[in-house]
Amino acid sequence: MVQHDKKTLVRMLEGDLSWDELKLIISGRKDPNRFDVILEILQEKVPWKEKILLPLHEHLYVVNKNGKRIVKCDCGHEFGDYHQNWKTKCRIRVRDTQEDINELYPHCMGSDPEWMELREYYCPECFTLLDTESVPPGYPVIFNFLPDIDAFYEKWLGRKAPDRE
């Protein structure tokens, strides 16, 4: 059974692996305990105590706080119930003028704002850029991922979620 040591995975998460090291991980068989090792690494990294149930994003986690499953940023900001789209709790910048789009793209290499705008979703506390959406004006905010946490733990991993044990 393939296993990568924790130090290697920490380095991978930090973007510190060389291509030769990373290629072995990409093209080799997958380590079945990866989820648990990554969870352990992330839990040690975050500055708060709530148990991570699922890493949702580079900076966001589903955690259980006071019996409720919520989305929490690594800065500590809480976005509320994970069944709700966390993007609707963000600060949002809409780039819907050519001038705003051309701050990021050379002339003619960005969208025409009449056809498509660029939305930036920030954490309201640390102002990390959590997501971008390139959509036509008036497009509803996309709810990208709603995990079935209990099915994952119980049906796939064969154990209860940490907050249901």
Partner: protein, 738 residues
């Protein structure tokens, strides 16, 4: 009518297909296979059997492209082969443009459902040709040769091969004809037609085919290539049966596909998280002022929403519910093409490995809603360039799967999307000098096989090296492209700055080129990729979409004089605001922010510019490591001004040493400034909601955007309901469009 079928035990192929479909529905397993008994009883024999067939297909492909093939096929391997069951399900595939493995499956099933067994008959040695997207193909330029394989008097399978043609005789020269707006513009159609018998292509077919396309020599070479490969596969299958026995073969092909199905389910459980995933992509069709034909003069924006459900049992459900309508343009996408696109991407993100076959196809529930661009159900529309929809649409599937891979911890597998394999500069002309004087050339460069791939969650995306439809992407050599497009030699190729999507990990970057018309007359030129919208569904977790395409060319230039006097000429367009074209040449220079153009006439010494696509980025650009930004500057991936604005990196270039240095303290300050700007320039969700809703209710949307919403609302009750509910609009709300 035949009394006895050519299928197994006297059944007709149609009976076999119906039985196969019934068993899948009843048992949820391929052909009702419960136990992989051959694999369990003698795994070594089973694996050897699979490897021998797989080896035969790979060998057939490698050999056939050297037997006879057009440059496009030989240079970058624009072909693939597959072996099918009597019902048309793929068992084993070669390497190559695997998007076509499932399209040929649909073509075989079309022939079975249309009872070809009775008329025109299916006999040993028969040869069938197909390029009709409505019954199993992507576009007419992909041409398939399919032969039946018989053991004694029973049909035991099919071999199929597909190559991509340079030209199929459409409304204009080339392979993705932007000017095609109905079926009659798409070029020659072979709808599952019998074109030979006794292993020989009929003379009347070849005469007709040669007169139907602009590049007859390449057409004929590729016909021979596909047939040669198929005959090699047939020989290998018959040899396999001699060694293993017919009973083993019959059971083996069923088990191999069922195993393929189980592999997908297992891989999903191994890599993803059950749940609901969503993304949306778009493609612009600025046809209103571009199209020639009155019926096509309409601006279109296509909505490509995707929902992926990962089920508890590991099954996948993929739906394009909410897709907007088809149109009088070349981007319509047949169901077979959608299935091919889905299949080829799954082979790249989940089921890569040797055991790749239609088992994966059977493990996925699909919804390509009728009357949308994803399944128009109208054979009289044009299907010449369905890639215009298919390529951006499937970035959504990759992104959805990437959310699951990320949460499961497999961050190295995350890929939020890829660049559009577009801006294939296309067209053609006639040589007026040289050894090919009087002959036509077609511009159909397959450099487009080298696009930027999206960043992963642990590294930058691949530069100039990815095509979604061919897992063995290769941009080829300039010298080979110039073999068949000698009327438009290259002046340059070089890295184009600022193509890569920004992010903590940047997307793949790409390059640009300039070519000049020469030695020719009657030259027409056109091209297309996204231009007014960002490609696909953009970046992930804070990464940005990559730069869009645009159009640049120059007519009536003074290049003859420049060449004569050996003066400087443009090698690219590194800064579109301050262009080299404008600085270095005289002539009528045309720049358009939209990329798509209908064919225009060019003359010798006219210049065309093209740029290939980057890939989307991953993560917040402010988190990009300084040493990586420095390398981007050194490699010409980004320019100093954009690095400052987006990455917050203050960099200085020493003209003497030609070295970049990063001012760490100034960078720290600049990054803090950007965070403050984010706070100042952003709004709450409630403010955002009011701001966006006004655009709808105050009728501020562009006609193409309104048309898109109107079509999606009409075509999908579910999507329409969610749209109206999100903006709190009444149930009977209508967008007024012409």
């Amino acid at each position: 009518m035949n009394q006895k079928g050519i299928g197994w035990n006297g059944k007709t192929l149609k009976q076999m297909l119906e039985e196969s479909e019934r068993l899948i529905i009843e048992t949820n397993r391929y052909y009702g296979i419960d136990k992989l008994s051959l694999k369990e009883q003698d795994p070594f024999r089973y694996e050897r059997a699979y490897a021998s067939l797989r080896g035969a297909l790979v060998s057939a492909r490698e050999t056939a492209l050297h037997v006879a093939a057009s440059p496009i096929v030989k240079e970058i391997g624009e072909l693939c082969f597959a072996l099918y069951t009597p019902e048309g399900d793929s068992i084993v595939v070669s390497t190559g443009i695997l998007v076509h493995v499932h399209t040929m499956s649909e073509a075989i099933k079309f022939m079975i459902r249309e009872e070809y067994e009775d008329d025109p008959g299916i006999n040993p040695g028969d040869i069938f040709l197909n390029n009709d997207p409505e019954c199993g193909n992507v576009h007419t330029t992909d041409v398939q040769t399919i032969i039946p394989i018989f053991w004694k008097d029973e049909l035991i399978g099919w071999a199929g091969g597909v190559t991509h043609q340079i030209d199929t005789g459409g409304i204009t020269a080339g392979h993705d004809l932007i000017a095609a707006v109905q079926r009659f513009d798409d070029g020659v159609y072979y709808t599952c037609r019998k074109i030979g018998s006794n292993d020989k292509i009929w003379k009347d077919h070849m005469i007709s085919a040669r007169r139907s396309v602009r590049t007859p020599m390449y057409w004929e070479l590729d016909e021979k290539c596909r047939l040669a490969g198929n005959l090699m596969i047939r020989d290998a299958v018959l040899k396999f049966i001699e060694i293993e026995g017919i009973d083993y073969y019959r059971r083996f092909i069923r088990e191999a596909i069922e195993e393929g199905r189980r592999i997908l389910l297992k891989r999903v459980k191994e890599r993803l998280i059950p749940g609901r995933y969503r993304a949306a992509s778009f493609i612009d069709g600025p046809f209103k002022n571009e199209a020639w034909q009155p019926i096509a003069k309409m601006d279109k924006l296509n909505n490509q929403p995707i929902e992926v459900i990962v089920k508890e049992d590991g099954g996948l459900s993929i739906s394009f519910d909410g897709a907007s309508g088809p149109g009088q343009n070349a981007f319509n996408c047949g169901k077979g093409a959608m299935e091919g696109g889905q299949w080829v991407l799954l082979t790249q993100v989940l089921i890569y490995g040797d055991k790749v076959n239609d088992g994966a196809y059977f493990a996925v529930e699909k919804n390509y809603p009728l009357k949308t661009w994803a399944n128009p159900g109208d054979p009289y529309l044009s299907y010449q360039a369905p890639w215009g929809n298919l390529i951006p649409a499937y970035t959504g599937m990759m992104k959805c799967i990437s959310y699951g891979l990320f949460s499961r911890g497999y961050r190295e597998e995350v890929v939020p999307g890829y660049g559009f394999t577009g801006d294939a500069i296309q067209g053609g002309g006639i040589y007026i000098s040289g050894p090919l004087k009087g002959q036509r050339w077609a511009l159909s460069t397959f450099e487009i096989s080298g696009q930027g791939l999206g960043a992963s969650a642990v590294r930058d995306g691949l530069d100039w090296g990815y095509a979604m439809w061919n897992p063995e992407a290769d941009l080829g050599d300039v010298e080979t492209w110039e073999l068949f497009q000698g009327g438009i030699p290259y002046l340059s190729r070089r890295v184009k700055p600022n193509t890569a999507g920004h992010g903590k990990y940047r997307g793949g970057a790409n390059y640009e080129g300039v070519a000049m018309v020469a030695f020719s007359e009657k030259v027409e030129f056109f091209g297309g990729r996204e231009g007014l919208v960002f490609h696909g569904c953009g970046g992930m977790h804070g990464g940005y979409p990559h730069g869009t395409g645009y159009r640049l060319y120059a007519k009536n230039t003074n290049m003859e004089e420049i060449i004569k006097n050996q003066k400087e000429y443009p090698l690219g367009d590194p800064d579109p605001k301050n262009g080299e074209f404008e600085k270095l040449i005289k002539g009528d220079i045309v720049r358009k922010c939209q990329n798509l153009i209908f064919p225009i006439n060019l003359k010798n010494y006219d210049l065309i510019h093209y740029s290939l696509s980057g890939g989307p980025g991953y993560g917040d650009p402010l988190e990009r490591k300084l040493e990586n930004v420095k390398k981007d500057l050194e490699d010409g991936i980004y320019t100093q001004d954009f690095v400052y604005k987006i990455y917050g990196v203050v960099a200085n270039f020493n003209e003497k040493t030609e070295e970049w240095t990063i001012d760490v303290e100034a960078t720290k300050k600049r990054r803090e400034e950007i965070r403050k700007e984010r706070e100042e320039k952003s709004m709450t969700f409630e403010e955002f909601w009011e701001h966006e809703r006004k655009k709808i209710v105050e009728d501020k949307l562009h006609e193409a955007v309104k048309r898109m919403y109107s079509e999606s609302i009409q075509l999908s009750k579910k999507w329409g309901k969610e749209f109206l509910e999100f903006w709190k609009l009444p149930e009977d709300y209508k967008m007024e469009v012409e």
